[in-house]
């Protein structure tokens, strides 16, 4: 309890946290890891029970060995870096393009209504379904992957930014105008902070969709990335490699989502969103 001096100012009046942080931390981790342990146990049981050969399914232990191998030789880091770089660029591009577009659409009721169906339509046409066209236009290149991922990411960003702007009570802007505010002021003080929680939600959703699209595109384009790693491994029947790649895909997603995106979302939603009701 001596460490609570660094707690957020908003929590000053909150009741004290759990009695023992270490014990409850272990308990919490156990709660989250238990389902994974169950899956690994089942996997092991199937492997042993049906006496499956390694060309069908390898043991968890072998995957662990291969994982360590790939990790220590830097192979995994290499492929993962490619994927992370692609998704990172896509996030930046989508934010730069999608947020202003969402604002432009959302700030005009007529345009928002007119484009609502249009945006939903393109939400339905998944990024992957653009792959044939993108390959024709850009070939089997990084550009094709980037186009697919940016497309997948930017649509939810535009859509949620638009929703965020639309959800701001019109009286906020009117009140500010009555205080003498001009358009720039209204955008800066009302629309931007008002739409922020929704923008963050859009980016988070977009990253989830974009990550999946990225892996799929990499499998077909074969220019590096975790999708390339697992699809390449299939050619040589390296089941351990495939599973290692899949684990990396899931772990990276969780790490990025939990350690970067969710804290940002909590920060904005906790402070901004509470009063939305």
């Amino acid at each position: 309890m001596t460490m609570t001096a660094v707690s957020a100012p908003a929590a000053a009046g909150a009741p004290p946290r759990r009695p023992s942080p270490l014990a409850s931390g272990l308990l919490g981790a156990g709660k989250f890891l238990a389902p994974f342990a169950a899956v690994v146990a089942l996997w092991w049981a199937i492997k042993a029970g049906f006496d499956l050969p390694d060309r069908i399914l390898v043991s968890p232990y072998q995957v662990l060995v291969t994982f360590w191998n790939l990790l220590s030789r830097g192979v995994l880091a290499d492929y993962a870096a490619t994927s992370l770089y692609q998704i990172g660029v896509a996030v930046v591009v989508s934010a730069v393009v999608g947020i202003p577009l969402g604002f432009a659409i959302g700030s005009n009721a007529y345009v928002a209504r007119a484009l609502g169906l249009f945006l939903r339509f393109f939400q339905g046409v998944s990024g992957i379904s653009w792959l044939p066209l993108a390959i024709i236009w850009f070939g089997f290149t990084d550009t094709t992957v980037q186009v697919i991922v940016v497309y997948t990411l930017v649509v939810p960003v535009i859509f949620n930014t638009m929703l965020g702007v639309r959800a701001i009570p019109p009286s906020y802007a009117l009140a500010l105008r009555s205080l003498g505010a001009g358009t720039f002021r209204v955008v800066k003080d009302v629309y931007l902070p008002g739409a922020l929680p929704s923008i963050v939600v859009g980016l988070r959703l977009g990253m989830g969709y974009g990550w999946r699209a990225l892996i799929a595109a990499e499998m077909l384009i074969r220019q590096g990335g975790l999708g390339d790693l697992i699809f390449g491994a299939r050619t040589f029947g390296q089941i351990d490699r495939i599973i290692c790649g899949m684990i990396a895909i899931g772990v990276l997603y969780v790490v990025v989502d939990r350690l970067i995106v969710q804290p940002i979302e909590n920060l904005t939603v906790a402070r901004w969103g509470v009063l939305r009701k």
Binding site: Y172, L174, S178, D189, R271, L275
Partner: protein, 278 residues
């Protein structure tokens, strides 16, 4: 336009229509109205009679279909900091602290921080928000949020204050306190106030003059003078025991009730102009 006119707000030949898919809908009847400086005018009338439409036109949020609004000798063409608005729904910004909400108008006007802080501190004290300056709106009660909204408008120091049922959403006990505070605040600052309400008691309690609106398309059907407020405003105890005030309340209530019953008995019909005189 006579610039030396004592009237702060002039509504001239005002009439408003809303465009809908089924064609234009008449929101208000013909309205002519003059409000002198420092007068507190309340407006009561049945739901949907166009009270808020009139307020929005004075605020400059909508352009009148016919007629014009003149404030301080200038025709209203849009919102401006000379006319502060307190909304029924809370229009204070949830992502700003009490202090930054109240000081927002001054911030927009480019008032230096030190001076801004002084004004905010004065209004915080005046509205009983001391100790809550750094709280966010969601950490406050409904009554306190409403105080923030009022303080924000006052801090910007507009001559005219337009209020659209500002106390409708707070509980009955808090409302009494807020009404008393508003009565003394407006008395001491000599603001011109245009205040919309559903409550007859509230209308009479706060006003120098109560206007009664007919049902849609609403016109001003009666204007009732209330004896001038004494220094320090009013309080509910003396108000409820004052026979003169109670007589005015009854008179206003009758006028409002007439409208409702007309509406029920003969739906869709415009009010009889001869009954105007009452």
């Amino acid at each position: 336009m006579d610039a030396t006119s004592p009237d702060k707000i002039i509504v001239e030949g005002f009439q408003h229509f809303f465009e809908t898919a089924d064609g234009p809908v008449q929101a208000t009847g013909l309205i002519d109205l003059k409000i002198p400086a420092a007068e507190f005018v309340t407006l009561v009338g049945p739901s949907g009679c166009g009270k808020t439409t009139l307020l929005k036109a004075i605020a400059g949020f909508i352009t009148p279909t016919r007629g014009r609004i003149v404030c301080d000798g200038k025709t209203v063409t849009g919102p401006g900091r000379d006319r502060g608005v307190v909304f029924q729904e809370l229009a204070i910004l949830p992502w700003r602290t009490v202090r930054r909400n109240i000081g927002h108008g001054l911030e927009i006007a480019g008032v230096p921080k030190a001076e801004r802080e002084r004004t905010v501190a004065r209004l915080v004290a005046l509205t009983g928000l001391k100790g809550f300056e750094d709280r966010y709106p969601h950490e406050l009660s409904g009554g306190m949020r409403q105080r923030v909204a009022v303080a924000r408008t006052w801090a910007a120091d507009p001559d005219i204050i337009l209020m659209d049922e500002p106390f409708a959403a707070v509980d009955a006990m808090t409302r009494l306190t807020l009404q008393e505070e508003l009565a003394s605040l407006t008395f001491s600052t000599r603001k011109t106030v245009f205040f919309i309400t559903h409550s007859v008691d509230e209308a009479v309690f706060l006003a120098d003059r109560v206007l009664v609106m007919s049902k849609r398309p609403g016109r001003i059907k009666a204007s009732i003078e209330v004896p001038r407020r004494k220094a320090g405003g009013r309080d509910w105890e003396s108000f409820t025991t004052d026979p003169e005030m109670q007589a005015i309340c009854e008179q206003v209530l009758r006028l409002v009730r007439d409208e409702r019953m007309d509406g029920a008995a003969r739906p869709g019909e415009t009010p009889d102009p001869l009954k105007e005189a009452s």
